[in-house]
């Protein structure tokens, strides 16, 4: 199996038309290590205002670490982070009114009741949509009188989401927010998220493994691999430009054929499967004819892309 990094777009950047928007987040040369293990390596990334960005990466790629570093919840070893145009050295300042965060697991304040926890949090915010909170508690069947410690993981996740979106944040950072949710709750959450995003100037960054949700939100895809953001691109553009090219012949393949723009390739049985960026269809047909192979060109799903690239 061979892997070729995408070179057409600089890593961590949006296409020119998108990147002209003022970034809500700007990361330069971010380094993060845990003891001897380096998780993020000179990571550059910028996220323009008004986008939904899905952060993809395999288990242990550093998604949670990256999101926590962005918010100042984990000290960094090098580089710089700017959030809303100000350096994020530690969480603080007026901009915290504009940020919502859903952690991967919500295991805080188990002794508090749901209502008490939300009241406690609301006291700190200038904006707090109590009507939305009450509606979501009712819709998502969260008992305000129940202790957090008595909630299931899924219910805690719902509570964390309610808490994060209640202040009507301009930037919502969600770390695998739907991992513990049932399908109904996941849909309801995505519905709320999309509604929230209709307002101008709202940005969402969320890590997830459920690619269907990213497709539903028509998100930009950022891929974290080897400690760096390999690329950030709109899903539609990925779909349009990346194609799954399959050459099939009875004799099989000792190695995949060389094709311009190939990002990843491997041989599986009598098939050579290639992920190609901006394939030239005529030359692919010519290659298939030369190699005496059948050619199939498919539009990959996001899950296919994730499996191939992550």
């Amino acid at each position: 199996m061979t892997v070729i990094d995408p070179a057409t777009t600089p890593p961590g950047t949006m296409p020119a038309s998108e990147s002209s928007a003022r970034p809500v987040l700007q990361v330069r040369g971010l380094e993060k290590s845990f003891k001897q293990r380096q998780v993020l390596k000179a990571l550059d990334w910028h996220v323009p205002t008004g986008r939904v960005v899905g952060l993809l990466g395999r288990n242990g790629a550093g998604k949670t670490t990256l999101l926590r570093c962005l918010l100042g919840l984990s000290p960094i070893n090098g580089g710089s982070i700017e959030l809303f145009g100000e350096p994020m050295i530690e969480p603080g300042g007026e901009r915290m009114h504009r940020i919502g965060f859903v952690p991967q697991t919500f295991d805080l304040f188990p002794w508090m009741k749901v209502r008490a926890y939300l009241d406690f949090t609301a006291a700190f915010y200038t904006r707090w949509n109590q009507i939305l909170v009450d509606r979501l508690l009712a819709d998502w069947e969260l008992d305000a009188k129940q202790k957090i410690g008595e909630l299931s993981q899924g219910q805690r996740q719902k509570l964390a989401i309610v808490r994060a979106i209640a202040p009507d944040p301009d930037l919502l950072v969600l770390d695998e927010p739907v991992a513990s949710l049932d399908p109904q709750a996941r849909r309801a959450f995505m519905g709320e998220l999309l509604t929230l995003m209709r307002a101008p100037g709202k940005t969402v960054i969320f890590s997830t493994h459920i690619t269907a949700d990213l497709e539903r939100a028509d998100a930009d895809i950022a891929l974290l691999r080897d400690g760096r953001i390999q690329f950030t691109r709109p899903l539609a553009e990925l779909r349009e430009r990346l194609k799954r090219v399959i050459f099939q012949r009875a004799d099989g393949w000792s190695q995949p054929p060389a094709v311009a723009g190939v990002m990843k390739s491997h041989v599986q049985g009598d098939q050579a499967i290639l992920l190609v960026e901006d394939p030239v269809i005529d030359s692919l047909h010519a290659l298939a004819a030369r190699e005496n192979a059948n050619l199939r060109i498919e539009v990959p799903t996001l899950e296919d892309l994730f499996v191939e690239l992550a």
Binding site: E90, F109, P110, T126
Partner: protein, 471 residues
Amino acid sequence: MNTAWQLWLQLFRRVPVLVVLGNVLRLAALYFAVQWLRGEPRLAPLTAWLFGMASWVWHIGQGFNLRSICIPESFLLPQFRRRLLEYGAIDIAIWVLLPLLFVFILKLPYTLLIASILPLVPAFGLLMGSNPRASVFIWPVFIVLGWAPRFFVELTDDALHSPLTPLLILALTALLLRFSLAPLLRIEDREADTSPLESTGLNRGSTRHAPGEPQRLGRLGKRLNALYDWTSQRAMNRALAGYSRRPDLAHRMLLVRRLLLPHDNPEAIALRIILVAVIVSFYFLAMLHRQRVEPAVIGAYTIMLSLSRFPQLNIGMALMRPNMADLYLTLAPETRAEYQKTISDALLILVPISMLTALTYTALGAVLVHAADPWHMLFVALIVSAAASLAALSLHLIGPESRTGRSIANLVILFGVMAVYWGGYWLVGATGYLIGGGVLAVVTLGFALTVWFAAQREYQQRAPRFDAPIG
């Protein structure tokens, strides 16, 4: 103000007992202050003492409250640090400025000294509540007291008349506040959680971390934890190698013990004993220098120290429940009772470990106090620690899970052991090793074994639980 109110509410929710105690002491101080103003000047010291205690207790609660609130995620709350500062300002107004106003109005003597002591007391309380290892900051005072009490009295007398004393006390207050608040306001990566059943022996005096609260360990603490983990890994490797050589019941049990009690391997036990011995020796030499100590007190204390492991077992077993399902599936017992018996048998190893610890500490105590009859101390410690450990294990195996129930059980064990050791020490001294020891052994071990077999039977009849504990 709403944030201050919410933070204040947290204090009531987290430590209601301390809040009530603090307010009762404050009301008592107020009552005696009124009596004092009505012409009872001898009540002035009592009033000051009660108010000082009230302030100290209240701020221990505040420290504990802040410990559970100041987690990294809380710093995402807008202006979190500033709100804490406002909350602190209100607290200072109530506990420092208001009493100071009375001091000025009543034109009391030593105004500046009182003005400097008023913030010192809350700073002490805050430190003890927010930093469980705060006692190291308080030791030096007792060291001076222990080594040179006359010097300390003279120093205090001079300090009362020195204009620099208030400044020194204010500087000390600032230092204490820094020690207590700085770690709370620092955002650090969370250390990996340790096994709920483990106990290094150095952290038993501290309250358990709240969920989500980072472990705030110093450099030395981190190194010691790493050392314990290293011994655990070595012990586990040995157990695995032993089991692969001979997969019998004994080796299987050893594996279960290495899994459940990672820090109860020979190296870790030795390390724990050495560390505690060093601390106890220092404490003894520094604080109790040249003071005569009753051997019975030493013996009772060492047994209490060795038993301090068992309450952790109770809490740890509850926290471990979700993970125990994995062990259940791995062991694949024929019946649920068989699994329960495996667990209780595995935990039985804590009894000889606790006995060994008690005997080592007693021997150390006997050496330190130059006990006239160390064998007497050791003999009684051997019998009482065996019985007490077995009874404590039984109680915590099937005992109450609620915080109140656990506290009551701990108190019963604590006072029971003290009484039994003192009684046993007197009995053996009065009637000799054979008769006194025989009676003591029959009574205590008989009781402990009866309790143990009953507890084991009860535990085996219970269905294993794998649900996560609530709250």
